[in-house]
Amino acid sequence: MPKVILALENDISTDDIYPGRFMATVLPTETPQFAFFDRTDFNASLKAKAFPPGSVIVGGENFGCGSSREQACSTLKGYDLAVVARSISRIFLQNSINLGLQVVICPGIEATEGDDLEITADQVRNHSTGKVYDQVKLPAARKGIMDAGGLIAYTRARLLARG
């Protein structure tokens, strides 16, 4: 079962997830090395592949606020992590859906590092505390993009349909 590998406070900015000084690095294949770079120990564990795919970062309110840099999503997607947060900033949410990073809005979520989380279709179950939390549905507008597996595939299909 997925474990919580990092539990964070409110208002985690994209400067924290992917510091601005690495913005010259753009390719999704190259960005993961800088994930949470200034959280030195966590960054080292990520790079050492200490966490299995599907591991979860839990955030508070307004996760991913700030810059529109897509690197903040590709860097987490590179390790196949999931984000469960009480609320998520608009551009980060949109970028995550566009890139296929798993994001879950869960207003009541309480979890600490090491907890076992099960993410179902509409709930999040914390097996370590026995508590179950409801998810907020992601914007319906984005369903087509999620179903296509991301915005690149979605746009490609639209292009082909247009001929």
């Binding site: 510091p19 000084r21 010259a24 606020c65 700030g66 810059s67 609320s87 970028n95 746009t155 292009l159």
Partner: protein
């Protein structure tokens, strides 16, 4: 039921008689702006076309703007190579609204777009930068997107599947006291709304104070609307918008101001009277951690920054120069000034402001993002404190996670440069 200004713009751009908050629409894009991150957009754009048998062609090269600003001149071979790659793409695709690293037409993207008349009232503008909210100052619906979403817009010419945002009406009345202005208003509003108070929503600005405000001030408030989480800030186009576009941007073709219906529906109305407002400071490490200046007076500052897309315009430089003229920046404090565009730099030279800054001991830097995002120049040392007219103070923003950034107006920054501690310009 009536429509808010953004609902009206989205209805028109989507070819629909009416839309309401929550509807899903696909508006035509009037302008698509990127900066250095066009390097990533190009990558995603080429990937979109892979396997389609179609050549990667942008939908309309005249509607794409690319401005180099974040790291100019390049601070590393990597950035220089990104610049080079983008230049080649621009040439190959015939993109005309391109602003290279130049001392005549260069500058920060959010200054260049209004300055060159690229944005008009009623436009739908997307930009790969969160402060794309700035262009609401000209009555456009203008919002930030990621690089892949921009690649999609470059290919299709529309913003795919977006939800019409709800609108918060902000009504501002009263007259600013001396040494208090638009920056203090927007900091105060962000403190009131909180950093996510307007997430997924638009801030639509009204009231006599806004009507009398210059476009420069409007850009500052729309610029920082995103710090309350807003999708966009917007000042419905009016006489000042037309004046700015005609007189300052040299626009000669028709300008069509879109205004909200009288019976538009808003999720919330916020009323602010600025007549008794005092200078506001956003304290580390969140933009909504806003305090009146008397609560932070006397804090020692090692770096003063005046500039950015928020407060690097001519009126900002004039106000700061008036305070610094004939004075000296305090020992132990360094002051950095970076005008928002080359054009503003030249105007500030002509007016003598640049000399005022230099004689006071400030370092005047080329136009661009400079120290604002901490990648290039003006990084903080360990545990140093900056007082800055920029728009973000997140941990690490000025290049050092142990540094602290306070945000303020240009007059607070200038008064504090002389003393080396946070100082009230009304008493200086």
């Amino acid at each position: 039921m009536g429509m808010s200004v953004v609902e009206k713009i989205l209805a028109r751009a989507s070819g629909l008689p009416a839309v309401a908050a929550g509807d899903v629409v696909e508006p035509k894009v009037d302008l698509a702006m990127s900066h250095e991150n066009a390097a990533l957009v190009i990558n995603q754009f080429q990937e979109v076309f892979q396997g389609t048998g179609q050549a990667p062609t942008v939908w309309d090269p005249s509607r794409i703007a690319i401005i180099f600003d974040h790291r100019v001149p390049a601070e590393s071979p990597k950035t220089a190579t990104n610049h080079k790659k983008i230049r080649q793409f621009v040439a190959a695709n015939g993109i005309t609204k391109f602003h290279d690293v130049r001392g005549d037409v260069g500058g920060i993207c959010h200054q260049i777009l209004p300055e060159y008349g690229y944005v008009r009232p009623g436009f739908v503008v997307v930009g790969t930068d969160s402060h794309t909210t700035s262009h609401g100052a000209l009555g456009a619906f203008s919002f930030g997107v990621g690089a892949t979403e921009m690649a999609s817009a470059w290919a299709l010419g529309i913003a795919v599947n977006i939800e019409v945002p709800a609108t918060i009406k902000v009504v501002v009345s009263g007259t600013f006291p001396p040494m208090v202005g638009p920056k203090d208003l927007i900091l105060h509003l962000i403190g009131l709304l909180t950093a996510q108070g307007a997430n997924f929503k638009v801030l639509e600005f009204h009231g006599e104070t806004i009507r009398q405000m210059s476009t420069s001030g409007r850009i500052a408030i729309c610029n920082m609307s995103v710090e309350a989480g807003a999708t966009s800030g917007i000042v419905p186009g009016d006489a000042e918008t037309v004046r700015y576009l005609r007189e300052e941007a040299g626009v000669t073709d028709a300008i069509d101001c879109v205004t909200p219906d009288a019976d538009a529906s808003y999720v919330r109305t916020v009323e602010i009277n600025v007549s008794a407002l005092v200078p506001q400071i956003a304290c580390p490490h969140m933009v909504d951690n806003v305090k009146p200046i008397d609560q932070v007076l006397g804090i020692p500052v090692q770096q003063i920054v005046i500039g950015s897309c928020t407060n690097g315009r001519l009126d900002d430089l004039a106000a700061a120069a008036d305070i610094l003229r004939g004075k000296k920046v305090a020992e132990g404090t360094r002051m950095l000034v970076f005008p928002a565009s080359s054009k503003i730099f030249a105007q500030a030279l002509d007016k003598g402001y640049i000399h005022d800054f230099m004689r006071a001991g400030a370092v005047v830097m080329n136009s661009g993002c400079g120290p604002c995002l901490g990648v290039h120049e003006g990084a903080l040392g360990d545990h140093e404190v900056a007082l800055s007219t920029t728009n973000r103070n997140f941990k690490g923003r000025m290049g050092n996670p142990t540094g602290e950034v306070y945000l303020c107006s240009p007059v607070v920054a200038a008064a504090s440069a002389i003393t080396g501690v946070i100082t009230d310009p009304r008493k200086g």
